[in-house]
């Protein structure tokens, strides 16, 4: 299917992906770098709840050093977009949205090509080395996410989409 994609840098204008339904999750995970201490408890919690290990390499969200300002941290976690680029780019149509609006990768259809990670603006999907397929955040199946529960400083929050949008605008000074 040929895609007509309109790209804009403004927050209020998302990139349109015609093949995606507009179902969205009610809440979304938001990270405030002002409070983050880089303890990585979110990654530990995520790795445990999905893979039953405390190895942070298994986590489905990422906290990294901010190269621009030492001592501060940037976070990449899935926003379960209205128009997910990963979904649009997947050549096998392995990525879909469920009834809650959670963007998922079907392990049966995924061939591990990695296009989803390349098209995602913050490269959220990652390769699962044992299964050789791509895996991504499933928002703990709509329950209260473990990463938010484990955050030691309230840097991660689960907010309703509208509130989260205003919060991010405020953080970015838009």
């Amino acid at each position: 299917m040929a895609l007509k994609v309109k790209v804009s840098k403004r927050l209020s204008a998302p990139v349109l992906v015609p093949i995606a339904n507009e179902n969205v999750t009610e809440n979304v995970i938001i990270h405030n770098p002002e409070f983050c201490t880089g303890c990585m408890q979110c990654m530990v919690g995520c790795a445990y709840s999905h893979f039953k290990t405390f190895d942070i390499n298994y986590a489905l969200l990422y906290v990294n050093d901010n190269p621009a300002t030492p001592g501060s941290w940037v976070n990449a976690n899935c926003s379960h977009c209205v128009y997910p680029m990963c979904l649009a780019a997947c050549p096998r149509e392995a990525i879909y949205k469920d009834h809650l609006g959670i963007v998922r990768i079907s392990p049966l259809k995924c061939i591990g090509c990695g296009i989803c990670a390349q098209t995602c603006p913050i490269a959220v999907p990652r390769l699962d080395n044992t299964k050789k397929i791509y895996v991504k955040c499933d928002l703990c199946n709509g329950e209260y996410p473990n990463c938010v529960k484990m955050c030691s400083t309230n840097a991660l929050q689960l907010l309703p989409r509208r509130e989260a949008f205003d919060y991010v605008k405020k953080l970015r000074g838009v």
Binding site: T37, G45, S152
Partner: protein, 307 residues
């Protein structure tokens, strides 16, 4: 519904000090200094008796929240039975007690679940107990004025401070501010660094020891060494545990980047030690110079030399 916000009169409140695991094992000087400080400030201060492990939230919250609530609930029930306010100076102990109490008060069905388990040990939790951080006791109950009045010998020292992650849970303007103001009241000059808010790495240690030591601990130590500060001020025993281990590992295993602070000699001191020194106690009175990985002898001679 907050566990620690109600106003109480410090003079007739009984405090039960929850030691935790690291303080009695690695920080006897901080334990003694805390008691000296509490005595000087006229607090009704004693150990909380029959304590169990605080139950580390970072592990148990992920594995099984119900077990976490029940095990931590035991400590709360014991404090309630003893009629004391539970005081923690370790951030990990504080956050686990604080969050459990908040969660149990907010959700009665979880309180019922915890009480069902506690009943097997003849215990019961009503939720009337208060949980406070040592910083809250010092700043909210005692007050900065009283601390200032008790100071006999302002310390002329330059320090980096490290408050730890969980103490930021109530916001950057609560406990981090208390910590800074108390330190400044003791005459300490605080050096601002970009790594002030960075985690010590303890929370990551069991998952990824290399990153936790070489990214978190190493960066802080390197900076402390470069800045030539007299000490790194801490409040959390968990952070001390990590720093203490970090020094040993960095000395033993070396540093792949070749920037290892050889002979790292910046002592990690607890807030209660700083207060005890400022209150006029001698370092020998609380054994400041024994049982430490980095010797505070330079700091002691500087404090004693400035009489």
């Amino acid at each position: 519904m907050t566990a620690s916000k109600s106003k109480t009169n410090a003079s007739n409140e009984k405090y039960g000090y929850f030691l935790g695991c690291v303080m009695p094992a690695k920080m006897p000087w901080a334990e003694k200094a805390t008691f000296l400080v509490a005595e000087k400030l006229g607090l009704s201060w004693d150990y909380m008796k029959e304590t169990l492990c605080c139950v580390r939230p970072g592990v148990w919250k992920a594995i099984d929240p119900d077990t976490w609530l029940t095990l931590t609930g035991q400590n709360l029930a014991l404090a309630e039975k003893q009629g004391v306010t539970l005081v923690d100076s370790c951030n990990g102990c504080w956050i686990t007690h604080y969050e459990t109490l908040e969660e149990l008060l907010d959700e009665p069905e979880k309180m019922a679940m915890v009480n069902k388990h506690l009943a097997k040990a003849n215990m019961r939790l009503e939720g009337t107990v208060q949980v406070k951080h040592f910083l809250q006791v010092l700043y909210e109950d005692v007050g900065l004025d009283k601390i200032r009045k008790s100071i006999k010998k302002p310390l002329n020292l330059r320090m980096m401070r490290h408050i730890g992650c969980h103490a930021r849970k109530l916001g950057n303007d609560v406990m981090p501010r208390y910590f800074d103001e108390i330190l400044e009241a003791c005459g300490v000059e605080l050096v601002d660094t970009p790594y002030d808010s960075m985690c010590c790495g303890l929370l990551l240690y069991f998952a990824d020891p290399k990153t936790s030591i070489y990214r978190n601990v190493f960066k802080k130590f390197k900076l402390a060494q470069d800045l030539g500060v007299d000490a790194i001020a801490i409040i959390c025993s968990g952070c001390y545990d990590q720093f203490d281990r970090g020094i040993k590992i960095l000395e033993d295993e070396g540093d792949p980047t070749g920037q290892l602070p050889q002979g790292f000699d910046v002592p990690i001191v607890h807030l209660s030690e700083i207060l005890a020194l400022a209150f006029g106690y001698k370092p020998e009175e609380f054994g400041m110079d024994v049982f430490r990985t980095t010797s505070p002898s330079k700091l002691i001679s500087k404090v004693e030399g400035g009489k």
